[in-house]
Structures are given as structure tokens and as C-alpha cells.
Amino acid sequence: MFNSDLPTRADLPTSAQLRRSTRNAALAAGVILITVVLPAEYGIDPTRIGRLLGLTEMGQIKQQLAAEAMADSEAQTATLDTPPQVSEPAAPAAQIDADLLATQVEAAVAAALAARTQAPAVASPDVATALPEASPGRSDELVITLAPGEGAEVKLVMAAGAVASFSWTVDGGVANYDMHADGGGESITYERGRGVPGQEGTLEAAFEGNHGWFWRNRGEQPVTIILRTEGDYTELKRLV
């Protein structure tokens, strides 16, 4: 009936061997759980071994992405529930984001958080000078400081087919970016990159809506992003 012969008793492990193996397996599992799995999944690293292995960083990034996704969906729900606040959806999102991070990534990124709270102060004067004038063409310069792990999003409000030229550079390092747009239920990713010092080119709006960039500093040091835009858009806004 089967494709092999019966084993003899001697081929099988003894009961004592099996009990020993079970105990060893359970011990090994405990060690792996504490030194590898918890750091890599949740950023929980009681032994500091995960940090040495580079796994704690993975867990922290995962927690950060999860927290941001949650803050994002909460902010969007809040926007739906209270239509009058539509004009400033970014502020509550950023607040929730920072709070969640503070509780979840804790002391590990304390330094980063300290820098993070300063970042908006640096950027806001530039945003303030760049508020709406419904002229067909305009130009702006925006300076954003990003602490390690921090992200920022800036959008140009454009009509379908409108064109704007742009350039941005990263002072003090490199950044990940996602150049994309959304509006009227549509969304598109124009270009993405990791670890680049800058980008320049022309943005042609694929549809009416918000077109721009999300940047993330994955380096060890704070960086400053200097964005220059010029062209056919009505507003430049920082969302995150």
C-alpha cells in the first residue's frame, strides 16, 4: 500500500530522546522569540540583542508604518464625520501620528521625537508666506527639516493638465520619496525612489487634485529638504 518499507524499532527515536528534543525545541523557541521575533515584529527588545542584529529597527519601522496607517484612516474618518473641518485635515493627523509614535517607539527614538517637535516650527513660516493667491502661475520655496524616521507630505493643488516645474534637494543626507497625486476619487503614483539626494523635473497633473511628494528620512541624522516649485498651481500645502 505504501511506497516504502516499515521501519524497525531501532530506526525510531527513543522516548527519552523525544522528550529531550521537545524540551530543547521549547527552549530554543523561547530564545528565538525574545531575541529575534519580538524585536523584528514589534520593536520590543529586552535583551538588546535585536538591536545588535539590526532587527529592532525593522520592528520599529513596522510599528511606525502601522501607527501612521491607523492615524491616516482615523483622520479620514474624522474628515467624513465633520465636513466643516475639511480645510485642515492635516493637523489632527499629524497630532495622532506623533502621539502613537511616542507611545510605541518610546525611548528608542526619544531623540528623534525631540527633533520632530521642532520640525513644524522651522517649516511653518515658509508655509505661511505661501498661502493661496488664485493667480495662474506662482513660485514657492519650502524648507522642511526631518528627524530620523520622520516623514512629510507636500501637495500642489492643480487642475487637470496643469504643469509645474520643481526641484528638491536633501541637505545633510538622502531621503525616500513617493511622488503621487489624489483627488476626486482618483490616485496615481508618478515616481518613487529610495535613498536619493534630490529630484527635479516637471509635474503634469493627470487629473484635478493634489499633486506632490511624501518624503521620509531613513538615515541616522536629521536632514533638510528644500523644495522649489514654479508653475500653474493655486496652492501649496503641507499635509504631514
Binding site: F2, D11, P13, A40, K62, L65, A66, G185
Partner: protein, 226 residues
């Protein structure tokens, strides 16, 4: 993964209107898309995790060692499987050969059915001969590797540090396989010592075969509706 996330992201976007929204991947994929450069141990971990949590690979491995009792034999078969899937994993990602993930996963389901039929002696009974079990392990290993490479391509790993990270991922796959194997062997060790092993061995392989058929149906349906 991409296919599953995209409609969800679109649905959220449609609800949200003008709020910000760059489609962010989370979890392992999110991590991979955030990092650049050589990250050896994190990729070893991801390879091992993929194997240990990949029930299709585990089911096949379970079938392969079901009737192997000596460590020497287990070593030979597991090495053949590793040789097979490592080859296609590395070549598949390096040359960017992405096969439809539903179809490749359906073939992996077929490998589970094949091994279960092999174990209950169906090929000997039906065709009067025993197909080479080592060759089958190697060949299905190639397909399992293509399944792995297809998933890695979907992860969109940074080109910066790709080869070292890929090799690390492959090392992780082997570590994960050996860990899963150790756990299976301990449970099988207890089971084989009881008289019921021989009464239930046939049924157990039929159950494994059923699981393989479910995998095939699940993946083919996914292919049709996607």
C-alpha cells in the same frame, strides 16, 4: 499582495477624497520598501519567517519526510529540495522572472497532492512503477523556488544591496526550513512510536492530499477572479 492591497487603497481613497494618501505598505513589505543597502540579518529573518509561516512549503516538506526515518535520508531529500528552490529563487529574482503568483502557487498545491499520492503508493498501484522520489523532490523544489522568487519580486526590494540581501534571504529560507523540519520530526517521532501511526498514516496522507487540492482550487480561483 499588491493586487490585494490596491483595491483596498483605492476604496479608501474614494471615501477620503482630498486627504493625503500615499499607498503605504505595512509589515514586512513596508519594511522592505523603506530600506536600502545591505541588511543581512533582517533579510535572513524575513527568509526564515517566510518559510516557517508558509504552509504550502511546510505541507510539501511534511509529505516528503513522512516515510523517512533515518537522518541520512532526511538530509538527502531536504538538501535536494533546498537545491531546487534556491536555484530558482536566486535566478528568478536576479533575472526578474515573475510568473503569475496564483499559477505558481497552484503548482505548489499540486506538488502537495503528488507527494501524498506517492506516499499512499498510488503510482505503484495505478501505473505499476515507483517514480523517482528524489527527482520529484528536486523538480518540485524548482517550482517552490519560483513561488518564492515571485513573492520577492512583488516585495520590490531596493536594487542597492540586492544580491547580498537576496543571498541572506535564501540562507534564511534554509534556516526556516530546518527549524520547521525539526519541529515536524519531533511530533512525527512521538507519533511513529505509537501503533496508531500505521493505522492513521494512510488517512493522514489523504488529508494532506485534500489540503493540496484546496490550495489548488484557492489559487486557481484567485487567478480567475484577479
Amino acid at each position: 499582495m499588491i493586487r490585494k492591497i490596491a483595491p483596498l487603497a483605492l476604496a479608501i481613497l474614494a471615501l477620503a477624497g482630498p486627504a493625503f494618501a500615499h499607498a503605504v505598505a505595512e509589515g514586512d513589505k513596508g519594511y522592505i520598501q523603506e530600506v536600502t543597502g545591505v541588511n543581512l540579518i533582517p533579510f535572513v529573518y524575513l527568509g526564515a519567517k517566510h518559510m516557517v509561516t508558509g504552509y504550502d512549503h511546510i505541507l510539501f516538506l511534511f509529505g516528503v519526510i513522512f516515510f523517512l526515518y533515518r537522518l541520512k535520508h532526511i538530509g538527502i531529500y531536504v538538501s535536494l529540495f533546498a537545491l531546487g528552490h534556491s536555484t530558482t529563487l536566486l535566478l528568478g529574482v536576479y533575472f526578474n522572472i515573475g510568473i503569475n503568483s496564483y499559477l505558481i502557487d497552484a503548482i505548489i498545491g499540486l506538488s502537495v497532492v503528488y507527494k501524498a499520492l506517492d506516499n499512499v503508493g498510488a503510482f505503484q498501484r495505478w501505473f505499476g512503477f515507483q517514480p523517482n522520489t528524489r527527482a520529484a523532490t528536486l523538480i518540485f523544489g524548482f517550482f517552490h523556488g519560483l513561488g518564492l522568487s515571485t513573492k520577492i519580486i512583488e516585495y520590490d526590494i531596493s536594487p542597492d544591496g540586492l544580491v547580498p540581501n537576496l543571498l541572506a534571504f535564501n540562507v534564511g529560507v534554509e534556516i526556516g526550513q530546518l527549524s520547521a523540519l525539526a519541529a515536524i520530526l519531533i511530533v512525527m517521532g512521538f507519533w511513529r512510536r505509537t501503533e496508531s501511526f500505521w493505522r492513521h498514516a494512510y488517512t493522514a496522507n489523504v488529508v494532506v492530499m485534500a489540503a493540496g487540492f484546496v490550495l489548488i482550487g484557492y489559487q486557481l480561483t484567485g487567478w480567475i477572479v484577479s
